[in-house]
């Protein structure tokens, strides 16, 4: 006779596991399908491409998640100690080969699919007529610089940095190319036109992130890192810092104003007029 200990043979833990895991699966599925807390709408072509990859990954991992959690709940319920002897089995070679191959194929396939969107962001350069904007992170604000009418960015000299005289970037006064540069604390850009941002930092590492662009990129002191995109929807979007940069990290914030071409030209003219004064 096999003994049945009441403390180990009870069905209660098995039923509790089944309930908890079913609630976990159901709530997770619901929140993903209802999109209760979700991504904001993407505003760039590459953003939509990234969203498609998100969707594919949600489907694959979602299926595995549901199957694995329910299998666990079922196994625990089905094989709780009911007094019968355990099945003696050491393993199964065929099963090992099967699940190894299957996961390898699925995981690598996802990785290869995702490479396309990554390539769109990082491999191809921007088109030659892209609007270049320099983005500088510093404790704890963003500065955005436009080349102005001459199309040339002026030289920067770290010794000239002085926020109190309105020169937070250290524009070198001896370089004529810098005279017409526009420096503003928010990002203004036209829609439906290629944009190239040149990311840099003055002090420590910051990270430029706009949710709707689906792009995040560290700003590393000593490097100038380009990213490019084209926004297709006007609106105001929040720019945040996503790499710990010191005590003011949480309020390092700016607005990205995506404007129609006409509005942008008007804004640019106004800035140039101010510079000329």
């Amino acid at each position: 006779m096999l003994s049945r200990k009441s403390s180990t043979g009870s069905a209660v833990p098995a039923i509790l596991f089944a309930i908890v895991l079913l609630i976990l699966v159901a709530s997770t599925l619901y929140l993903h399908i209802a999109k209760t807390w979700w991504f904001p709408e993407a505003i760039t072509p590459v953003g939509h491409q990234i969203d498609q990859q998100f969707f594919a990954t949600f489907v694959v991992t979602g299926i595995v998640f549901v199957l694995a959690q329910i299998a666990l709940a079922w196994l625990v319920f089905r094989y709780r100690d009911q007094g019968r002897k355990a099945t003696f089995v050491r393993g199964h070679h065929g099963l090992e080969v099967l699940w190894t191959t299957a996961t390898l194929v699925v995981f690598v396939a996802l990785g290869v699919m995702a490479a396309h969107a990554w390539g769109e962001v990082h491999f191809g350069g921007p088109s030659p007529d892209a609007l270049q904007i320099e983005v500088t992170g510093l404790q704890f604000q963003w500065e955005f610089r436009y080349a102005g009418p001459d199309g040339k960015f002026g030289r920067i000299n770290v010794k000239d940095i002085d926020a109190s005289v309105g020169n937070p970037l250290g524009l070198d006064a001896s370089d004529p190319a810098g005279k017409d540069d526009i420096v503003v604390p928010d990002l203004y850009l036209p829609v439906d036109r290629p944009i190239e941002l040149m990311l840099r930092s003055q002090d420590v590492i910051h990270s430029f992130f706009v949710r709707e662009l689906r792009i995040k990129q560290d700003c590393v002191p000593g490097l100038i890192i380009p990213i490019h995109f084209e926004v297709n929807k006007t609106g105001d979007y929040e720019v945040t810092c996503n790499q710990l940069c010191g005590l003011g990290h949480y309020h390092m914030h700016a607005i990205m104003h995506a404007m129609s071409e006409a509005d942008f030209e008007q804004w640019e003219k106004k800035q140039e007029a101010q510079n000329a004064q």
Binding site: S7, L24, T28, L247
Partner: protein, 584 residues
Amino acid sequence: MSAHAGSIHHSEAPKGWIRHYIFSLDHKIIGTQYILLGLSAVTIGVILSLIVRLHLVWPNLHIWGFANGIVSPEDYLRVITMHGTLMVFFVLTTVPQSGFGNYFLPIQIGAPDMAFPTINMLSFWTTFLALIVLLASAFVPGGATISGWTSYAPLSAVGEIAGPGLGLGQTLWVVSIALFCGGSLMSAINFLGTTIDLRTKGLSLMRMPLTVWGWFITACLALLAFGVLLAACILLLLDRLAQTSFFIPADLSVSGVVLHHAGGSPLLWQHLFWFFGHPEVYIAILPAMGIISHVLSTFSRKPVFGYKAMVYSLTAIGFLSFTVWGHHMFISGMNPYSALAFSILTLVIGVPSAIKTFNWLGTLWGGRIHFTAAMLFAIGFVSLFVTGGLSGIFLAQPALDLYLHDTSYVIGHFHLIMGVAAIFAMFAASYYWFPKMFGHMMNETLGKIHFWFTFIGVYCIFMPMHYLGYVGEARRYASTESVNYMIALHPVNMFISFSAFVTMSAQLLFYFNFFWSIKHGKPAERNPWHGTTLEWSVSTPVPHDNFAGDYPTVYRGPYEYSVPGAADDFIPQHLAPEQVAKAG
């Protein structure tokens, strides 16, 4: 394998209290010291996370110990930095490996002690010193550092000028981690030497319990990873104290001051740190995997499904863990082409992890499952490992990491797979081995209540963090008030905080159970779980040299449960074939 011919050290227990309990050479005492060190660190770490959760939902709440009772932004960063450092280094790295490993590895392989008992003692006291230095950094002028547990340069390199706590506090942080590396390196050598040289007669590699495999592979990783971190820490110290420029580039202007450094690379720190940091994730989880396999097999009354596949997958994870560090750096500015290689390798390391999960499910299949507290935590581990592993599939793809990097999604992911999963293994190990360590049983009913609160609780804490990540909530924000889309997430954060308070309170059950049972628990039999491995063959309390001079011979693999034809549903490893009782 026959190292016991000349006893490696005398088998008499030392007489004095200090030699016995403080500067002990006995691996069991040292293991217990590591566990108590981890328990102290986890207590502080949990209190710090309580402060984080309180501050995020009630920023104006007065909290004892802070200037004017208010947690300032720099205090918040100090708290998260200290929380991360304590948990990753002094809890996840020490307890499963140096704690339980120290205690049970020699016994499970039939050895009298670790190969180098003095080095073992030195490892512990170096680690202890590292903890003291880290805690001391909170009390120096400027306070503890604010640069996060990853201490990215140049924030961590340029000194006080970049913010509070970045002076002496940061220096002490680096010193503490360097000391910790030293302790871990010594410990790794000991684990390797012991496993290779001190196995008892008959204990071939493929007869070792999976716990021993877990500790062995982890020691390999620790030996290779901590050396690199130690070097990185020394370079960072030189940048800070000797005006070198390993991590500091030219033309930095910090707080209006131009620095006289040139030629360094901030990305170098990240490469060195994550070359350690990713194996570190596996240093935390491989011993846990071993423990979970061990416990699942014992309480399913079945051999581990696919023992060899389990060994090979542990080895594969160990090897691959050194090839994936770049997935922490997809958005760092590193060459974007290398991201593709790191991405595919990261997805490939998911394969041996999936193999382990399938084999755990296979172990349950056809079993006769006993729901002990240890088993509940082991089953819970499998569920958490699946959930936390699948979110890793997102982060492994650079195109998706572009969005998710440094959001709450990452916090949810690594807490489930690295933090909570490893802690579930520590709980399972505690409930499972407590009878052998202290001669008393822990209270099973309390243990089960503890499990259900913790299991449901951690899902309520960490699942919503994934949703916060979808919305884009950034991590390491002292306040979400400055960003409109984060303000709207307040109710979710409230839910997480409440779940955290309940879950943390439930841990008091464990503390009570643990300390109360040391004296007052039901007296334990020699082999209360009907286990097969060598730790259950020795008497309780375990003699000073474990086997009282009578070293066992091993005749079979570690998980011979429910073998057809045998009278009992378990056959201990040390039982000679002629001693095995036949059924009927």
